[in-house]
Subunit: 301 residues, 2 copies
Amino acid sequence: MTDSSDAPTPLFDTLVVIGPGLIGASVLHRARRDRTIARRLIAVDINPAFRERVRELGIADEVTGDAAAAVADADCVMLCVPVGAMGEVAATVIPAMKPGAILTDTGSTKVAVIEAIRPFLRPDVPYVPAHPMAGTEYSGPDAGFATLFDNRWCLLTPLPDNAPDSVEAITTLWQLCGARTRDMTPEHHDRVCAIVSHLPHLLAFTICGTADDLADETRSEVLEFAASGFRDFTRIAASDPIMWRDIFLSNREAILEMLSRFLEDAQAMARAIRWGDSDYIVDRIERGRSIRRSLLENRQA
Amino acid sequence: MTDSSDAPTPLFDTLVVIGPGLIGASVLHRARRDRTIARRLIAVDINPAFRERVRELGIADEVTGDAAAAVADADCVMLCVPVGAMGEVAATVIPAMKPGAILTDTGSTKVAVIEAIRPFLRPDVPYVPAHPMAGTEYSGPDAGFATLFDNRWCLLTPLPDNAPDSVEAITTLWQLCGARTRDMTPEHHDRVCAIVSHLPHLLAFTICGTADDLADETRSEVLEFAASGFRDFTRIAASDPIMWRDIFLSNREAILEMLSRFLEDAQAMARAIRWGDSDYIVDRIERGRSIRRSLLENRQA
């Protein structure tokens, strides 16, 4: 031990975060606060305004637009860009990484992201996909904060050829961020997220669009009298459009399947309302309540 | 003035609240706290357990199960029962009211409630329909609190033959509860509420039901990994089943029309996802964001 301080050795020497938006900036805040994740933090963004904000926030030791140069000395490179940009960024970054450095990502869909990155993988650069299930309706570097991941889940979808130590390192990284971790296959991940996150966002965007299309008089009153139901939907619907477009397109099959189930159920509810089928309506409402009770018991609500 | 205290004369001498659940108990809390709404407060409920809780909460001077006896001396009778029970309760209550006393209700739908009450109306008992747009996902007497209506809207839908002083009294009552008031027709009220409140609740109940129907493995993970989107929906879906069944059935036409528009839009979104129509997806997401921005400017969010 040449380290003269009492501080424990960080998990990595140099961590590069590519795309310091809500998720990436939150990782940087946490790493900067605790100093247990990495000794040196580098933030990369193609947007000069975002680089400037990251500098002003003081959450990275270096801020640059040159991803290839930034990753040359990295021990871990984390891709936090929209899922539609993962392949392109991986193509730039992977050839510049040093042997043994770990690549990871934070994409909200896993099958499509892994497919996009796979062509550029090198045998000496392990890639461990992950998805921290945390967020707010805000986006950009200013949206990040150190406690975003506390007690939230981070789902890892390790690849069959991942060496255990690389999976362990990324698991530890997220636990140091405050998250609980779980491994599953990419396919199962995408199905679970389709129902718990992607479909709710799709419905929220849609109902806001439906309201926006109403005749002017009603539309202005929607704004004026937004009761709790609609207001909650607009909060969800305030999320970043490019991120969500990419999620919908890259998790297409699972989302379309869940949406199709949902639309069948909504049609059945419409039919029950039209024909006055009280028992059916109450049964469906009770199911919703039972899910809520289970969530409260699981302390997820 | 025979009143020897400095307190202003309350709006009513005796106020009877029939159905002291979330809304009714909140009115009682407010009236008890400020003493400006009524000198004497009577709560009526058919459920002995609810009567017992109201007694324990100490928010009424009298608590009874006998509606006809309770309203005999009332200056104002407020029906806070589920909208499907309004007609039946009105049939019991109206013949027992004294001439000049005002009847009002707090139902979430107005056309159907007015139709249900109309057959029992007397020319000497003015009926002023109202709908306080406030609530939480909790129900029953324990859910009530004095500040529930602060800065929320209460929509009044006066009838053509309402004398101005009766409308003014109910308007003042809700303003004393902390609410902002607005008059509109019952038909317009039902249309606005269908989109801002009833449809969001219907979608929330439905997605929870859809999740509940998933194969056991996925269902248990839905509970475990409920991300913010789904969790927000379950909060909305925790509301009282009988109340919502009644709302859906009694505002059938407006809800089915809004649901039909929504389903068309959701199908169009599904088609855009299937065929990769990025521009359409982003356009719909942007509309949701613009509604949210307008809400924030209106300070409704």
